[in-house]
């Protein structure tokens, strides 16, 4: 009787083993019969990723610098950011991390874009229907907390190592913030303003595009910021499944206690994050100002 309270009554060893084996075997046979076609399904994405990476790696570096600087300028309308970007990239190139940085930029920009394209509509959907919010919320919790290799292993068995599983890993981890904050932003829009919009005879589409989204922009951009930061934080994890980029030298450095190598590549990742984020944030701020000005007219 005492045993019952001190030892948790658990399933027998063999019973547990049978359950584990059954799950594993089911997945194995699934992988054997559908692996090939799932792989083919993702092939276009892989080709795009490879094409984009090659484009960035093979374009002469001055052109890339120019493009990055002008993108920064277009985003921020300010000379400080492009200047900082050029300085950073000069340093990155000088320290021999150019190619890895290009690979990382290729992966991260595609991942961020994908997260925004999928995440924002999901967030809007969530904001409109409470039931969707109730179903999606636990799912988002899972995405953010589940140890990465737990879901990555089955993905690897299906798709093999490389860019696509890396992209999936990044998106699973980095998408929740943009979904959550889009949802939150729209829900926080003042009810009175919506009533006013209704009074002017706006239909739900107009209300969403003209009123809710513009007013939710600060939150949405906070979500984009988090998504970018988390995507870049996942660069090292992606490298653990064979994605080239700044993560590989970091892994090397961690294994061998190469302080300088780890620091240099780690800081390059940070620099990318900051440049990405600042240009988008400035762009977001200008968008809000434009909207505000527009309304005052």
């Amino acid at each position: 009787m005492i045993d019952f309270f001190t030892e948790f009554p658990e399933i027998s060893r063999s019973g547990l083993r049978d359950i584990k084996n059954a799950i594993d075997n089911a997945f194995r046979s699934f992988s054997r019969s559908y692996g090939e076609s799932i792989e083919n399904f993702f092939d276009p994405l892989l080709w795009f990723l490879i094409w984009f990476e090659k484009l960035l790696v093979n374009t002469p570096w001055p052109i890339i610098m120019l493009i990055i600087a002008s993108l920064c300028y277009l985003g921020s309308r300010n000379w400080k950011l492009p200047l900082a970007a050029i300085l950073t990239f000069t340093l990155i190139g000088y320290l021999g991390m150019w190619e890895d940085t290009m690979s990382t930029i290729a992966l991260i920009s595609v991942a961020t874009l994908l997260c925004i394209i999928i995440g924002m509509p999901l967030g809007i959907w969530m904001a409109r229907y409470d039931r969707v919010q109730k179903t999606l919320n636990p799912l988002l919790d899972v995405m953010q907390t589940i140890p990465i290799f737990v879901y990555l292993l089955p993905v690897l068995m299906l798709l093999g190592i490389g860019k696509v599983p890396g992209l999936i890993a990044i998106c699973v981890y980095a998408m929740p913030p943009i979904i959550r904050l889009t949802n939150l932003g729209i829900r926080l829009v003042d009810k009175d303003i919506l009533e006013a919009a209704n009074a002017f005879g706006a239909d739900s589409k107009q209300r969403l595009i003209e009123v809710q989204i513009p007013l939710a922009l600060p939150n949405i951009f906070a979500g984009i910021n988090q998504t970018i930061m988390m995507a870049l934080a996942m660069v090292v994890i992606a490298s653990m499944i064979g994605v080239r980029g700044l993560g590989i030298p970091v892994l090397q450095a961690i294994q061998n206690q190469y302080l300088a190598l780890g620091l240099m590549n780690g800081l390059a990742i940070v620099a990318l994050a900051i440049i990405f984020d600042r240009s988008l944030q400035r762009y977001g701020e200008r968008l809000q100002k434009y909207n505000a000005g527009h309304k005052n007219d």
Partner: protein, 334 residues
């Protein structure tokens, strides 16, 4: 106030008892629980036998080869590395042994082991003309890389492992880039395993680095390829190939160096004669180790589960490692 001082007093007594206990056992140390299955199994078997049989207290510390070696060498703990593959740390290890900071307690804890380049059994079935690595290197078209199908994929060693440098050097030594190959870095052991498992399960061609004894090698019946060239001397290997392309400008093609696995201990443990005697006798036959690894993989057994299964099923093997009364103690504890 009284309450606080009372609780502090209890706290002190508690700590006193704790420290007393550790002094009393006089055989307490940390052991590296390295992050691959045979090492985990070995560490857990050692822990079980030493704790239950000899009354030691063993704490397992997780870690990879290089990290474990560095902390053992610099900090003196963990005090034992049961299965250290010494090739990647050959020179610093030799130095540490000469300076009396580390000692080998066993020069061959597992028999029949090795590293090298492996292919799936289906590769050989379809291409019986492949006798050595040199034959395979002529046909990169049969091993198309996912990210660039015009090249052959050679799956190297995970980033940061000692073998990564050796594979990079051999990639250069065999002029594989010129022959149309690319070196794929799987990034981690999980990546390497997934890559090999996927190929073996689907019957694809696969050429890559791996090592035995491992469950995957046993499970998929992977074939170790002969390099087709002899081992080109330890000078070439130790001071060039294993240093990687940044140090090694002109690597000579060579077969993989003979793998040496040792049980390495620090001076603290060297003084524990019973423990040292145990380590010197503790030898796992290669096939037993492979079968245990397949068992652990099939049953998703953790190190401790594997250790208990091993101790239950292979009594005739481990009984020879220990004195009779110790064997009795261990058997009773099972």
């Amino acid at each position: 106030m009284k309450k606080i001082s009372l609780s502090i007093f209890i706290f002190y007594v508690f700590f006193f008892l704790l420290s007393f206990k550790s002094i009393a056992s006089n055989c307490e140390f940390q052991m590296a629980d390295m992050n691959w299955p045979s090492a985990t199994l070995m560490a857990n078997v050692d822990k079980f036998i030493l704790e239950e049989g000899y009354g030691c207290r063993v704490e397992l510390i997780p870690g990879a080869t290089t990290a474990t070696f560095v902390t053992m060498n610099e900090k003196g703990r963990p005090q034992v590395a049961p299965e250290l593959w010494t090739n990647s740390v050959a020179e610093p290890l030799q130095k540490a042994v000469e300076e009396g900071r580390l000692f080998s307690a066993s020069d061959g804890p597992i028999t029949e082991l090795g590293e090298g380049w492996w292919v799936t059994p289906d590769t050989l079935k379809r291409n019986p003309q492949f006798k050595t690595v040199l034959d395979i290197l002529e046909r990169p078209d049969l091993f198309p890389a996912k990210e660039d199908p015009s090249k052959g994929a050679f799956i190297g060693c995970p980033a940061g492992w000692g073998c990564q440098l050796s594979n990079q050097s051999l990639f250069i030594a065999f002029e594989m880039e010129k022959k149309g190959w690319m070196l794929v870095d799987p990034g981690s052991k999980a990546g390497l395993d997934a890559s090999m498992t996927k190929a073996a399960q689907r019957g694809d061609n696969w050429l890559g680095y791996y090592w035995s004894p491992t469950s995957l090698i046993g499970k998929y019946n992977m074939k170790l390829m002969d390099f087709g060239v002899p081992f080109a001397g330890s000078e070439n290997w130790d001071s060039c190939i294993s240093k990687g392309p940044e140090v090694c400008i002109n690597p000579k093609p060579s077969a993989w160096t003979k793998s040496i696995v040792k049980t390495i201990v620090t001076p603290d443990v060297k003084e524990m004669h019973k423990v040292m005697k145990y380590f010197s006798k503790r030898i796992f036959p290669g096939e037993v180790m492979n079968s245990m690894l397949v068992y652990m993989e099939d049953n998703q057994a953790q190190g401790i589960d594997g250790a208990i299964t091993f101790l239950e099923n292979f009594y005739d093997i481990w009984v020879n490692w220990v004195p009779k009364e110790v064997a009795q103690n261990v058997k009773e504890a099972l």
